[in-house]
């Protein structure tokens, strides 16, 4: 006979404010197998846990039921209490009488108390049928992967590498740097983005523990915490990077014209190009989709021979390359190279994109003088399309009146309901930088409201107002195109309660931050869950901010939600620290709540094999025929196989048929 102890928690007033805790405790005493029933203000506190430990040590109880909050956060705490008192920690069951009872039935105290009794009876019935289980351990591969080489990925990789771990840094572009490399200066200190980022990029590039895989993308992910197998496709560069010196001669020689994504399409680059001047690694790639195959020299073919000279006719990029890194005659594989990397933990830092202006028909997107704020960053950057000169795209003349519009696509149920968090500050930053450089500008800024919640942020904003930048509370509803390429912004000043308009030479739209499509595909590969805003969802918004539902996979930066550089770096360092824990522990625990096949009962029908969402089941020969085998390291304990097995040959430990039937029986008896 099991000796079940029941411990009912008040959870302050969370439970006791609704449920009659004393009545639940008294009721528990009447249940079969229950030897003691107690109540306490906070069962999870040390004195609360001590009640359990003492009863176990006194030999009073050998099964424990805690009626309290959610096992998601508190089961590990109570299991530890059992373990420290010398009892198998899986002789524990939790009844959730808070999240699933008092919190949802606050207006029905009697009903909530009745439900609490039923939940306790069900947990007690299961507890009496619990079996002892043991944790198992597997070794951790001593390496980590960081996906995304923006500022988040850079800092996560550096911290992991500096802790002594091998790090693979995967970046889809030819260079690391991300969006931060595109920025001119950074708020609230106005330090130059390149000046603070590029030295750190160099540190990443030269770190002995970091292997950079740029121009590469994750194709497939297999495995589990401690033992992930990641297939990475290194895209074909058509340039021998072991020889390329990054001189850029091929890029200059290339006659193709492709919108330069680094400059937000405001100028053209060649098909042969270097991502940006401070690229790390500074290597050229040939974008074969836009290659003109000059001189008729197609990839993998011998060059044609000139009838005039008798010499082979090479493409300009080949001729320009002094390092002999471009040889189009070689049989370059357009698929690049697929490599498999084994790592113990992964940090996802895939970043964001900004919405394009074309989504906003009310803001004259057809005008070249309407820019996104990221385009504006490139326009004022010394490495941008105009070398940092503020020139109007339509005619290359210096503008006199600038107008900024905030919350374009953010805080808007037609696009994204969330606040993109950085727009107010970067708009003010751009305005301030421009005012400092061109004091004769007139700059107007329209806000729903100015949001500056950060260290030194509000001071930054109020100083901007004192500099003579005009702040207007009220979101414009439209832009009219004027004959001379100027734009009339139709606004409203809610402080005055009057309609206003601004005739601007340039209009800058602070378009929303959002998760790019390729990151959504990556999320599927890593089985990430997404939040209501479309970003990767952390495991707990407060207590597990960098963890994910997939153990061993962590989040950093804007893929988890919009954030500024200080927050991104802080989160990246947090993710690195979390990802280092399993590496430092060198082995990870596998909880025994897993499915197991009884081979004697298995008919080998194979129904379970395709049902398993984790590819954990395979058919292997056993005695005279193939039978199902479950890979313990892949199984997540979902129970699909156990419920589908027609022979009842699969058992899900911790949720056996006996345990579940006893719970159902207890639940269906009225309390």
């Amino acid at each position: 006979m099991a000796k079940v102890g029941v411990y009912v928690c008040h959870c302050g007033s969370n439970i006791a404010g609704v449920v009659d805790v004393a009545a639940v405790r008294e009721y528990a005493e009447t249940l079969p197998d229950v030897v003691v029933s107690r109540e306490y203000l906070f069962m999870c506190s040390d004195p609360g846990q001590e009640l359990i430990r003492k009863d176990i040590k006194d030999g009073l109880v050998d099964r424990v039921v805690v009626a309290a909050c959610t096992p998601r956060t508190h089961e590990p705490i109570f299991r530890k209490a059992l373990e420290s008192a010398g009892l198998n920690k899986y002789f524990f069951e939790m009844a959730n009488i808070r999240d699933q009872d008092s919190w949802v039935h606050g207006d029905d105290h009697a009903g909530a108390t009745r439900k609490a009794k039923q939940l306790v009876a069900s947990a007690v019935a299961k507890a009496a049928n619990l079996e002892a289980l043991e944790d198992t351990y597997v070794d951790v591969t001593q390496a980590a992967m960081v996906v995304g080489g923006g500022v988040a990925g850079i800092f996560a990789a550096l911290d992991l590498a500096n802790m002594g771990h091998k790090v693979y840094l995967v970046e889809k572009e030819p260079s690391i740097g991300g969006v931060m490399a595109q920025l001119d200066k950074t708020f609230p200190t106005n330090d130059c983005s390149a000046c603070i980022l590029t030295p750190i990029m160099v540190e990443v590039g030269t770190h002995p523990n970091i292997e950079m895989l740029t121009y590469a993308e994750v194709e497939d992910v297999d495995g589990y915490i401690g033992n992930f197998k990641v297939k990475v496709r290194k895209k074909q560069t058509y340039v021998d990077w072991t020889k390329c010196t990054g001189c850029g001669a091929c890029a200059e020689a290339c006659p193709a014209k492709v919108p330069d994504s680094f400059n937000c399409g405001m100028n053209d680059r060649g098909a042969a190009y270097i991502h940006f001047p401070q690229a790390v690694p500074k290597k050229a790639v040939v974008d074969m989709k836009h290659c003109l195959n000059c001189a008729g020299h197609k990839i993998g073919q011998e060059p044609r021979i000139s009838k005039k000279t008798g010499e082979p006719m090479l493409a300009p990029c080949e001729k320009a390359c002094a390092a002999d890194a471009i040889n189009r005659s070689l049989p370059w594989n357009p698929e690049g190279e697929l490599i498999e990397i084994e790592v113990g933990t992964v940090v996802l830092a895939t970043g964001y994109r900004v919405m394009e202006k074309e989504h906003f028909k009310e803001y004259a997107p057809d005008s070249p003088n309407v820019l996104t704020a990221l385009q504006m960053e490139r326009l004022i950057s010394a490495t941008g399309p105009t070398g940092g000169k503020l020139l109007r795209p339509s005619d290359g003349k210096k503008p006199k009146v600038l107008d900024f519009i905030s919350c374009v696509g953010s805080r808007d149920i037609r696009h994204h309901t969330y606040c993109s968090r950085v727009c107010c500050m970067y708009m003010i930053k751009q305005a301030r930088l421009l005012m400092e450089k061109y004091p004769d500008l007139e700059i107007y800024m329209h806000f729903i409201d100015v949001r500056t919640p950060g260290k030194d942020f509000d001071e930054y904003y109020t100083h901007a107002a004192e500099m003579g930048i005009h702040f207007i509370k009220g979101k414009p509803g439209g832009i009219e195109m004027l004959p001379d390429d100027r734009l009339r912004v139709l606004g409203y000043d809610s402080a005055m309660g009057e309609n206003i308009e601004v005739d601007a030479d340039l209009v800058i739209l602070a378009t929303a931050i959002e998760l790019p499509e390729d990151a959504q595909k990556l999320a599927q590969k890593f089985s990430m869950t997404m939040d209501g805003s479309g970003f990767f969802k952390e495991l707990h918004p407060k207590l597990k901010p960098v963890d994910t539902p997939i153990e061993g996979v962590f989040l950093a930066g804007c893929c988890q939600g919009p954030k500024d550089i200080p927050d991104t770096v802080a989160q990246a360092k947090a993710a690195a620290a979390s990802a280092a824990i399993p590496l430092a522990q060198k082995r990870v625990k596998i909880e025994p709540i897993l499915s197991e096949v009884y081979p004697e009962k298995c008919s080998g029908c194979g129904i379970c094999v395709p049902l398993c969402p984790y590819n954990a089941i395979s058919l292997k020969p056993y005695a005279d025929r193939p039978r199902a085998v479950i890979d313990m390291t892949q199984c997540k304990g979902c129970g699909v196989c156990a419920s589908a097995c027609p022979s009842g040959a699969i058992i899900l430990h911790g949720y056996t048929d006996d345990q579940i039937y006893s719970q159902i029986a207890a639940l269906t008896q009225s309390a």
Binding site: Y444, A465, E466, D493, A495, E501
Partner: protein, 171 residues
């Protein structure tokens, strides 16, 4: 109300004038509204109370609001100064704007009585009621100020006659 084209407004000129006349806090205002919440001018129903005046100045209004009598209703209670979270000193903005109005002879008739009181007796506000109150609490009927001191009144008039106020032609 017609739409205001901000690019056609001369914001710098009016702001510069207000700053010169002592209202330098006008550029610091973030339009939170704390001043308006306790302003007697606003409570009395005048349209151009502190917050509104500041916003209009920030927007570049001058001529359009020059004849508005609201500013002359300000009693300089300074509650706005006490509650302002940005150090705008709204009273000073109002007084600066009054000075601009005065220079343009846009003085509200509502203020003429107090101006002539000031010139004649050295007090902007004189009330027969106050005499009764003083007697009631045991004080002499008249305060020991310029109000009963012809010599002092003469001095005040001399001062005012030699001040820019004399040019306004209201004495």
């Amino acid at each position: 109300m017609p739409t205001v084209n901000l690019t056609q407004m001369n914001t710098h000129e009016i702001i510069q004038k207000v700053v010169e006349f002592g209202g330098d806090g006008v550029v610091k205002c973030i339009q939170c509204g704390a001043c308006a919440s306790i302003c007697p001018v606003s409570h009395a129903g005048f349209p151009l109370f502190c917050k509104q005046l500041i916003r209009k100045v920030q927007t570049g209004y001058e001529e359009e609001i020059l004849d508005d009598p609201s500013t002359w209703a300000c009693v300089a209670c300074n509650r706005c100064v006490e509650v302002c979270p940005r150090g705008v000193n709204p009273t000073e903005v109002i007084f600066a704007f009054r000075r601009i109005q005065a220079n343009e002879l846009a003085i509200s008739t509502s203020s003429l009585m107090s101006q002539s009181n000031l010139y004649e007796k050295g007090h902007a506000v004189l009330s027969g009621e106050s005499k009764k109150l003083r007697v009631k609490v045991g004080l002499p009927e008249n305060p020991p100020t310029s109000v009963n001191d012809e010599k002092a009144q003469k001095e005040i008039q001399t001062l005012l006659d030699n001040s820019p106020m004399a040019d306004l032609g209201i004495f």
